[in-house]
Amino acid sequence: MEGHAPKEIGSLSFGLMDPEEYRDMSATKVITADTYDDDGFPIDMGLMDPRLGVIDPGLECKTCGKHSGSCNGHFGHIELAAPVIHVGFAKLIRRLLRGTCRECSRLCLTEDEQAEFRDRLDRTRQLGEDLNDVTKAAIRLARKKDRCPHCGEKQFDINHEKPTTYYEVQQVLSSEYPERIAAAMEGRDPDAEDGEEDTDREPIGPNELSEETGIDLERINQILSGEFRPKKDDRKALEKALSVDLTEEDMNKLMPSDIRDWFEDIPDDDMETLGISSEKSRPEWMILTVLPVPPVTARPSITLDNGQRSEDDLTHKLVDIIRINQRFMENREAGAPQLIIEDLWELLQYHVTTFMDNEISGTPPARHRSGRPLKTLSQRLKGKEGRFRGSLSGKRVNFSARTVISPDPTLSLNEVGVPDRVASEMTQTMNVNDRNIEDARRYVANGPEAHPGANYVKRPDGRRLKVTEKNCEELAEKVEVGWEVARHLIDGDIVIFNRQPSLHRMSIMAHEVVVMPYKTFRLNTVVCPPYNADFDGDEMNMHALQNEEARAEARVLMRVQEQILSPRFGENIIGAIQDHISGTYLLTHENPQFNETQALDLLRATSIDELPEADGTDEEGKEYWTGRTVFSELLPEGLSLEFTSSAGDTVKIEEGELVSGTIDEDAVGAFGGEVVDTICKVYGNTRARVFVNEVATLAMRAIMHFGFSIGIDDESIEREAEEQIAEAIDNAYERVQKLIDTYRSGELESLPGRTVDETLEMKIMQTLGKARDSAGDIADDHFGDDNPAVVMAQSGARGSMLNLTQMAGCVGQQAVRGERINRGYEDRTLSHFQRNDLSADAHGFVENSYRNGLTPREFFFHAMGGREGLVDTAVRTSKSGYLQRRLINALSELEAQYDGTVRDTSDTIVQFEFGEDGTSPVRVSSDEKFDIDVESIADRIVEEEFDTEQAREEFLGLQEPTTNLSEHGESWRTASGTEVESDD
């Protein structure tokens, strides 16, 4: 931004605007409804007046002289022929009409009452609660007053006809009063049609009436003949004597101009009682006399392919307003009848209303020619794609890229493979100095196309020059110290990488760039769990950082290795997954032996380049190494651990040696792999990163060594087992039949709190569930421990024993809403069954296995169950997304302070200590009691077991371990970007 000092907003003040202010800030008055003339130029004092700003490139703004892009536009105004109501304030206007005096416009509350409400208002303001509760109470009290406490004027009720019409309701003498009195005197019901005979009324003569009411007989006769209208007291007396209602409601319409006059007289003090800021928002400003016209830039017209202009919805609406406004004025000047004027007034009100909000209930929305409702001011602000949530809270950014992701196990988990065409589009600013001038010149010389090149240079005088194929050589020589070069991304740069939905902070992490050929982002498979990514077509976003502060923050705080521990459960979220786990399982479960070549081959992609002492010699006298020994090479020295693996055995690690046990998901897996977790917490993030990288590569080597595949044959079982399963299922069918028989004979005893039907269902479900399980058990017995599905299930790599049961044994009961399938036809699920058949197969029990294949009926039931699952997922994502949004919105302002308290941004204390003990959820796992091992610390200090002084200082916490180093150290810089040494 040239020449623009960055403006910082200190605070924002809200209020209504004075019509005078509208006129003052207006660049022009708008009087013509037309936009462009025949030549395509904007018409003066039209809606596209060049003084309102410019949208066409090349034209100059007549107000500020700037061109399109730099001119923000200027407001104009329309002088409305008659005041109209602002719909947004319709309810408030009603409240004010009801609460203030129709004569003196004062709030109908005594001074004492006003003072009380002002006090309450102050208090709620201090407490930060909703002001509306108090102001509504004030209006309620004021409305109850029959007469104004200030001028004594009688008050009438106000009727509000939505959206913007107000009536004053007065009780006046009915025009039919003589007839009604006469009817009542004759003993008829005045309300009844045709004067039917009625009820308890007794006829009353004029004399009696005169006596009862104290009105002269003569006067009564006059009243009866309609010559005299009874005064109020007389009317009351007559009403009482005859028990008849002589009044009718008179609806006196309040025109916006009347309301405006009324509001103008409301004193400022009274406004304050109602919580209305008298200074910023005079109530009469809620009735518009001048309409501001938004700048052209806020409603740009688009030129279609055929050269036709298509105007913005707002412009359309403004055209309508101006047209009606003109007609109104003309008609009024011509002295048109009141009726026509009122109609036009209403029409003008309608157009102004829909200009503000086109979704008012009870009003037909203004529509486009095509029938689409117009998107007017309110609609622009509202909702997810509206101005607030869509444009202001969520901004579009430059220097970002998005493409498909694919796996690359050769990368470190800190790295991301960036396609070269992305790398050469996204740039980093180099400030040229003596030390990097050589590099800078080389980048510029390479031009914008060749990879480590540059796209722009900036001279010290601020001129920005584009580097092109043509001028690059020439420009390279001109580059001097003090210039800025926008060079391409190169290996080792830090970028931000993200996958949506960004549900937790590990969804956005910083990676180091490795520039690669082809078109996808490459990432190590171990970072899939935090991103929740897979490679079935997922896309991810990358952002190049644009200043040193951001780059430093990203490197220190956001790099993948800093995010190994999840704050949700305080254990690692990055670790081995899927085949890595199968690999380590195969490597350590039965502790196989490897000869030297094999052992070296397993470790070749790790930083281990020497084998430890051999574990022994085989029959031929050759040395061998066991799988556990090979794995132990990756462990940090001195690590001691003991835990139970998911395969079920006890894993024992002593002094960095895996003594016994299987390394599987519970040891190295993502989501709390014990070993990764411990290394990360005790030895630091860098060591954990190295460990995870190496475990992944070792595991890949191991699984390649053993070979690992799964096919349909791996789920087949012997005939004998098949028969056993069939028998187990038959048994279950029998038991179900027995249950049904007992039920039918009425002997089934219901469980407490359940009906007999429910009890039967529950028992059948239970029986069939057991049948599936026993089928699974039978199938399991026939699978060896080397069966790949079993290996995967036991090691926790993928799948479960249940999946295996369903593949080989029996799929089991299909359920919809937690019950057996009961829907479909009358009294049966499918027309293949007898009515009221309660048996297992008529209600969705699938006795086949996936391998054997499902019968058509079973398939159908299975699809029913599957559909429920899909619907459930769809509903769940939207619900939990909204829950997350609300939670984040409510909690986003909370921050731990230096004093350990948790406060929001207005410094309200929410917790005195985070989580009652100030412990960070990142460092402490939720399920174990964390404690500092003073004993072992003392051991280390007393025995002085430190390799270097630095290690000692780090241990004492005098020196922070450097975690923000680039993974390849300085290698990429010294190698001048020509070649990158890989660490694996």
């Binding site: 809270s393 709390g672 994502t877 829950l883 609300r886 919105n889 409510a890 921050e895 941004t905 007393v942």
Partner: protein, 402 residues
């Protein structure tokens, strides 16, 4: 044995360690031989460094982290499962709907329930426990006997079942007394005259013979609660294992926390209910906070997400109860009561918030997060809350910060 000298004590006491760890340091040092003062200093330093490592970092945006930590597992939870939590007989809303219900701070949960623990002998003796059950469970006429309508005489006749009467009124000696009590209740609730032709038979009818009124009386009769608490439709009694022995615990369908606490035999210190508002009313806001934590944790546990750190739930409970009353998370609660106009407008009901702000002449001080995102200023959270700047030395040309 190393003696704890004043020097050593001075070193240890000078740290930020909690009492527990300080004592542990003393113990460890004392248990060893010949530990020098320098070594003690080093040990203390190392312990302190590890201790500080587990502290929450200043300026950590703990709110967002907690919100994410609860929201993220939401995607893994199930919808619409009526799980049978603990007790097979009582349906309780579980999973995501329950979590939403909790943060919404609904006035009544979808499936209100209570867990009533009993005191002393009531907890051990099934008979005694049943006494409490009958005081809690709403007893309606259908449970007590048969109703028949005699259209000819325009009479409703109730034949009380003697056994159930004895069971449900164990403390009252004679049956006629109980029957009389029931008749009195009917008298007052329905406004009719009852007669008892036999000790366990109650008859009554409408004032004027009207078939419709007769049937209406029967309908009304069904709703009359003779004993127990209206809201509680069912009580399930369960024997539960304790560390030392067993006890009877009651689970109720429907809740009326305040009433239950007053009943003799109920252990008020352990009895809970799943309506946080009722807990707030009866036990106060701190108890309500505890209940929110407990309920959210249970909901997550039921879904196998028990690894969520309880500190996150505490923060949510704390912000919900920060005012001294329960505020929901959402536009009717915390988000709707924010100071900033822009923050409210950016959340929900955008236009109304803007119009109200205009009327009240509000000023947005731009302190919070959302506001600053909107106006494009740095957010005062995390690294944005630090005003320190490293003094970049000018080495010819410009500073490192562009």
């Amino acid at each position: 044995m190393t003696e704890i000298t004043d020097d050593i004590e001075a070193v240890v006491e000078d740290t930020d360690l909690p009492r527990r760890l300080k004592d542990e340091v003393y113990e460890t040092v004392e248990a060893r031989d010949g530990v020098t003062a320098e070594q003690v200093e080093s040990i203390t330093q190392a312990v302190e460094s590890q201790y500080l490592d587990t502290r929450i970092d200043p300026l950590d945006p703990v709110g967002t982290v907690s919100a994410q930590s609860i929201g993220e597992p939401g995607t893994q939870m199930t919808m619409n499962t009526f799980h049978y939590a603990g007790v097979a007989e009582i349906d309780v809303t579980q999973g995501l709907p329950r979590l939403i219900e909790l943060v919404d701070a609904r006035k009544t949960p979808d499936t209100p329930m209570m867990t009533v623990h009993l005191d002393g002998e009531y907890a051990e003796d099934r008979e005694k426990a049943h006494e409490v059950v009958w005081q809690i469970e709403a007893t309606r006429i259908l449970a007590l006997g048969d109703i028949s309508t005699n259209v000819a005489d325009m009479l409703v006749r109730i034949d009380l079942n003697e056994e159930t009467l004895e069971e449900r009124w164990p403390t009252v000696e004679s049956l006629p007394e109980v029957a009389g009590e029931i008749a009195d209740t009917i008298d007052s609730k329905l406004g009719v005259e009852t007669v008892q032709p036999e000790p366990t038979v109650i008859e009554f009818g409408p004032d004027q013979p009207s078939y419709r009124e007769l049937l209406q009386l029967v309908e009304e009769l069904r709703e009359v609660v003779f004993k127990g608490i209206d809201e509680i439709s069912r009580v399930v009694i369960r024997k539960e294992e304790l560390e030392d022995g067993e006890e009877f615990v009651l689970y109720t369908e429907g809740s009326s926390f305040g009433d239950v606490l007053d009943i003799e035999g109920v252990d008020a210190s352990r009895t809970t209910c799943n309506n946080i508002h009722e807990i707030n009313r009866n036990l106060g806001i701190e108890a309500a906070r505890e209940a929110i934590i407990e309920e959210t944790m249970n909901t997550l546990e039921e879904q196998g997400l028990d690894d969520v750190n309880i500190r996150h739930l505490m923060l949510v409970a704390d912000i919900m109860t920060n005012n001294g009353e329960i505020e929901s998370i959402g536009r009717h609660g915390i988000s709707g009561n924010k100071d900033s106009v822009l923050a409210r407008a950016a959340f929900e009901v955008t236009v109304n918030h803007l119009l109200d702000a205009a009327i009240h002449g509000e000023v947005d001080a731009l302190d919070g997060v959302t506001e600053n995102v909107i106006v494009g200023k740095p957010i005062k959270l995390g690294t944005g809350d630090v005003d320190l700047r490293m003094g970049a030395k000018q080495t010819g040309g410009k500073s490192a910060d562009d």
